[in-house]
């Protein structure tokens, strides 16, 4: 029982999730687990922005799209290796996030949600725009190749990709954990809960908000890059409102202001739709919708808060 | 007895504000609750109007009104001019007045009452189509009283009608209130920090300190008793 609360737990957990699937999972299952890692990073990006900083975004799918396209274009047009595209994608998305964060500063809660929602609606159209056709491949999108394992490692491409994504994810999760536990995290939460007090304490709200936006965009963009490599394909219609809302659902279900919640949220958005899909094409949406409403009423802190509540009760 | 309040307890969240108040408002005439800032005066009025949760008993014309919705209490005939006057800033003066008679269906009666209000407050008639938010503080207070009177209430609750107004306007408003009481037989429960002002028109007074009554009696007696005034009211 003390295993979960132990400080070594994250490391034990990491080694377990790295090794066990390689030994037992089929290639398709590995693909799914890789996508869980991808989604976990994206949801974590949204958690930082919305959960910790209180800026409600319904358009983070746009950053995911930019990350995916940066990687796809660099691999497709210039033959740059997949791993080398990720820093570019991170920097570009952080930049775009910063720029979008600037006008967002002036938008109080609801307005920001509305604007980012509009961004989500417009994203596929922008990706299809004919002036960028030469790079983006227009409606057709871009097909990219699955990378092989390097250094002659005895792993098939799916296994290698899983480990690669997991490594990137682990780095980002450690980064985020340290961030939210420290001074910056306290400032982010103070801005969310007590903006006036935060300002009085000398916190530069504008700077924190725009940088959080950049950070969130960077995480989400990296997720997009990894997602593109995993799926080996990018096309505009995959990056519309449903994608952004999927991240939103993942955030709410996992728990907004929680690092571990991002993992639970990612598991939810990866596996629940697959299960629901067997009932009807419309079922995943209905499940998302009803779950969202139910969580807002019953468990606004997400699954992470449920675990916190259960932990507090002596067994 | 128009209003009977028995061992009223009230709280905002965790902090208790009222600690068992007992008081009555008789039919006709003015009752005043005096006390300093934070004594619980506004809370008492809010409790009567069902705006906060309370414990104890509140009887209006013998009928328990506790737990009823604010709008239902208003419909029974309790008009409430809240602190800050409750002006509908975005609406015109006329619309503010029309809202005052929302619970009524007697058009002729409303028209008579409206004409009477214009007699008492001619300035409202002049500004009928102006946005209420553009009125001065004194005009807004007049509008608030007129709006409340259009409900044709049996009991009028007034929360600090003098607050933030110039002495001259305050005197005008209190004089008009006095006239309303005399001619209509209405009961008023007025809450005031300005004790001398309230005692001048009141029949009965209660003095509130941190949620408890420390003194009560006929307004005239308190007005005359210099020691009482000095020690409790500070004037």
């Amino acid at each position: 029982m003390n295993l979960i609360t132990s400080r070594y737990f994250p490391w034990v957990f990491l080694v377990a999730v790295a090794v066990l699937p390689l030994m037992f999972a089929s290639d398709y299952k590995l693909f799914q687990f890789t996508m869980v890692v991808v989604y976990a990073i994206a949801v974590l990006g949204l958690n930082l922005l919305t959960g910790y900083n209180g800026q409600v975004s319904l358009g983070n799918g746009a950053f995911y799209a930019i990350g995916a396209y940066v990687t796809a274009i660099m691999m497709d047009k210039w033959d740059i290796p997949y791993w080398a595209t990720i820093p570019f994608s991170a920097v570009i998305c952080a930049g775009v996030g910063f720029l979008i964060g600037l006008p967002a500063l002036r938008l109080g809660g609801m307005y920001l949600a509305l604007t980012t929602f509009a961004l989500a609606v417009a994203t596929p159209q922008l990706l299809k725009y004919k002036l960028f056709d030469d790079y983006t491949g227009g409606v057709q999108g871009i097909v990219i190749n699955k990378p092989d394992a390097p250094f002659g490692l005895p792993l098939n491409p799916d296994q290698w990709l899983y480990l690669f994504a997991l490594t990137v994810g682990a780095i980002l999760f450690i980064l985020a954990t340290n961030l939210v536990r420290g001074r910056i995290g306290r400032a982010m939460r103070a801005i969310r809960d007590q903006p006036l007090a935060a300002e009085a304490m000398g916190i530069d709200i504008a700077m924190f908000k725009t940088r959080t936006f950049a950070l969130s965009a960077m995480f989400t963009g990296i997720a997009g890059s990894l997602g593109a490599i995993t799926i080996q394909f990018v096309a505009p219609d995959a990056f519309g409102v449903p994608l952004s809302l999927t991240f939103f659902v993942g955030m709410v279900v996992g728990g907004g202001a929680s690092i571990g919640g991002a993992i639970m949220g990612a598991l939810f958005i990866q596996f629940i739709p697959n299960i629901a899909d067997e009932i009807s094409k419309a079922a995943p949406g209905a499940v998302y919708g009803l779950i969202l409403i139910a969580f807002m009423f019953l468990l606004p802190g997400g699954l992470a808060s449920l675990i916190r509540i259960l932990k507090r009760k002596p067994a | 007895m128009l209003l009977e309040v028995k061992s009223l307890h009230g709280a905002y969240g965790e902090s208790k504000v009222l600690h068992g108040l007992d008081f009555v408002v008789e039919e006709g005439g003015v009752t005043t609750l005096l006390g300093a800032n934070g004594a619980g005066k506004t809370t008492t009025l809010r409790a009567i109007s069902g705006m906060i949760r309370t414990q104890g008993e509140i009887l209006f014309a013998g009928r328990p009104i506790q737990g009823m919705a604010t709008e239902a209490i208003a419909a029974l005939g309790i008009a409430h001019v809240p602190d800050g006057r409750g002006t509908f800033m975005e609406l015109t003066v006329e619309e503010n007045l029309r809202l005052g008679s929302y619970t009524r269906n007697d058009k002729a009666g409303v028209a008579t009452d409206l004409a009477r209000m214009f007699d008492l407050f001619p300035r409202l008639n002049e500004r009928l189509h102006q946005q209420a938010g553009t009125l001065s503080g004194g005009e807004q207070q007049m509008l608030a009283i007129a709006r409340a009177m259009l409900l044709r209430p049996k009991l009028l609750l007034l929360d600090e009608p003098s607050f933030g107004l110039a002495p001259l306007i305050v005197r005008e408003i209190f004089e008009i209130l006095g006239r309303i009481v005399k001619e209509s037989g209405l009961s008023i429960l007025v809450v005031e920090q300005n004790a001398s002002l309230a005692l001048a028109i009141a029949d009965r007074a209660y003095l509130l300190e941190t949620g408890r009554f420390v003194m009560s009696g006929a307004a005239e007696d308190i007005r005359k008793d210099e020691t009482l005034r000095r020690s409790y009211l500070g004037y």
Partner: protein, 290 residues
């Protein structure tokens, strides 16, 4: 030149739709300070109700007259059951619920009615375009319906006791209760009314863009843009904004950015308004002396 005039006429016709949805959004925003992200999906669902009735043999206008009150009830019920308990919840919670409603309506519609595009009849006939070919019958008819709706709503709020009480409840719920206005009922009525307006907008736009569960996504975005452009605190402004956005959308689509970037135009308008003039063109800044 002819083409230009035709674009303007079409712009006014679609602008009327955006103006209606923008008005619905503003009504709810004024009362609750919430932006109803599900407004479009609710309208879409209402349109499916109308189509179902029509396909069952109900005459068009009868179906219209049934759909509007049914939508009213759905809207009022949503307010009572889902929104009222969350009235004081933080932004994230209300956005979450709205998105939940959006997803639910969208997928329930897809479940029942499938995701295929369906033609929706116009009550104004196919016929030849009127006035020298500048305006189609449906454009003329739907614009007329929209204007009638907007005018009736305006008259309702301006001249009736109930309309006044609804406005009062939106502006100042505390004072409203004190004069005896049942505020929660007014909010439910407002939701019902907004849903009815949305339903009419849906039925008017469906013959043009065909009916499918995602039909209203674009319309909602233009309505957002219109509401913000006109001023989200000003119903009349939102209506004017809706018409302006309709015209901009059509002219822009025809002459500037091309049809592929129409939605992006809406995003652009939203961002520009919110950063340059957040109160909108006609947003009132109240002068108050207290």
């Amino acid at each position: 030149m002819d083409g230009f005039i035709h674009q303007i006429v079409s712009g006014i016709a679609s602008g009327g739709i955006y103006a209606s949805v923008a008005l619905a959004l503003v009504m709810i925003y004024q009362a609750t300070h919430h932006v109803n992200f599900a407004q479009g999906e609710m309208a879409m669902f209402s349109t499916y109700i109308a189509l179902t009735l029509i396909q069952a043999g109900v005459p068009y206008w009868a179906a219209f007259c049934i759909t509007v009150p049914v939508s009213f009830v759905i809207g009022a019920l949503i307010q009572r059951v889902v929104m009222e308990p969350l009235a004081k919840a933080p932004v994230l919670a209300s956005v979450g619920v709205f998105i939940g409603l959006l997803l639910t309506f969208n997928s329930v519609a897809g479940w029942i009615f499938t995701y295929t595009l369906k033609p929706f009849p116009s009550p104004f006939g196919e016929g030849k375009p009127l006035f020298g070919g500048f305006v189609s019958r449906h454009e003329l008819g739907s614009t007329a319906v929209t204007l009638v709706v907007l005018l009736s709503i305006w008259a309702f709020f301006r001249f009736t006791k109930l309309g006044l009480a609804m406005r009062a409840a939106a502006y100042n719920p505390v004072s409203s209760r004190l004069v005896g206005v049942p505020v929660n009922k007014m909010l439910a009525l407002g939701w019902g009314l907004a849903a009815s307006i949305g339903a009419i907008a849906g039925m008017m736009v469906a013959p043009v863009i065909f009916l499918d569960p995602n039909m209203m996504a674009g319309v909602l975005l233009y309505a957002f843009a219109g509401a913000l452009l006109g001023g989200i605190t000003n119903p009349l402004g939102a209506v004017v904004g809706g018409f302006i956005v309709g015209i901009i959308e059509n002219l822009g689509g025809a002459y500037v950015v091309g049809t592929e970037l129409k939605l992006t135009t809406a995003l652009f308008i939203i961002v520009v308004v919110l950063t340059v003039k957040p109160a909108g063109l006609f947003g009132k800044t109240l002068v108050s002396r207290v």
